[in-house]
Symmetry: C2
Subunit: 217 residues, 2 copies
């Protein structure tokens, strides 16, 4: 029984890694679209979103099966229920990446310069957060999960800087207002991605310690 | 067999009306929080979000049951698959309302004036859109669904006006930049709520006509 359970848990881990990988890919692609308006990539992103949604359902099914058939307790129960919560946040990350693409599509003021901007740093930090939070789950690495939670402060700081820059730019060059607003909105979505990645890490922390410190909206 | 099917369809309709009602309530509450920062209301909104998430699962379960047990064809099949898509959009409306509250909580520059602003008009228009799209579904009213889809242009226009006002305000009073940015972001979320309400109406159109005209990200 235990062996079968372990096999299913391993499959769950693999699916989580895959879904995390998809999220990273999607954030990377969304950041590229901001800089390039690449139509083919926009098309790819729609496919990735569908894939993430499917993956969410698959993982939910695995978790439900594990819960119903194995009636796990203690750590195992926490791991499975954390996985269930984590996929919701990962699915939302996919949504936010889509929303970024939506802004690019609606707003001709973009493409925006990404290279060496705070916006680019935000995208890179959030990709890193997703990657490390999933790694923390699979490796049951509490330290890593906590690092991700702290990393979210960095993303928040970067967002504050983008905000300040945008406010100054609108003040000085109001004719670039539309472009500035688009950048601001895109930055806001990256900031939300950071929130969700931090939520993922909080669920990892819960899976390992039994203490859940999250709870923000 | 048909009678049982009809009873289940009626239950589905009732659940859809309930979920639509929850969305309206949540948008109303979020708009109020923007104006007041009311802590009790913020607490209530968290409860509403949970309720909407549960409702989504309930409706999904009813739809799956109908699909598996009754193997419906033609219109019935379209009605059920539309309902499945509609609830995803309604759930996203709840998320966006939560995101609005998140901005208020993070940003001390809010409360913002709502009365007689374009922002207030946005909130009212989106509440109306949700209400009418669900009505269109239950009453199978194609005209009403199409009105909702058109109404989204109004919400987009209102958002453009908020954008212009905010750009001008930041240009003239950069010291109010933070407040302006918060208003802009809140407006963006209302605009997204309008998108989702319009999606709901597009699914109603599909359920009735078999033609799906949506498909934007």
């Amino acid at each position: 029984m235990r062996n079968r359970f372990d096999r299913q848990l391993m499959r769950l881990n693999q699916e989580m890694v895959d879904m995390g990988g998809l999220c990273e890919e999607m954030i990377t692609a969304a950041a590229k679209v901001v800089a390039t308006r690449d139509k083919e990539l926009i098309h790819d992103i729609k496919g990735m979103e569908e894939e993430i949604n499917h993956k969410e359902r698959d993982i939910e099914r695995i978790c439900m099966k594990l819960l119903l058939q194995q009636q796990p307790v203690a750590t195992d129960l926490r791991v499975i229920s954390s996985a269930l919560k984590m996929v919701s946040d990962m699915e939302r990350i996919g949504d936010q990446a889509s929303d970024i693409v939506g802004i690019v599509q609606k707003d001709s003021a973009v493409p925006a310069q990404m290279e060496n901007t705070h916006l680019e740093k935000m995208s890179k930090a959030t990709i890193d957060m997703v990657s490390r939070s999933v790694k923390a789950f699979v490796k049951e690495n509490l330290g890593l999960a906590r690092e991700v939670i702290e990393q979210d402060d960095l993303v928040d700081d970067l967002f504050s800087q983008v905000k300040k820059e945008v406010i100054e730019m609108i003040h000085n060059e109001p004719e670039r207002g539309e472009e500035c607003v688009a950048i601001l909105m895109i930055a806001k979505y990256f900031e939300r991605i950071g929130d969700h990645a931090s939520n993922v890490a909080e669920w990892v922390e819960y899976a390992i310690t039994g203490e859940y410190k999250g709870g923000s909206l």
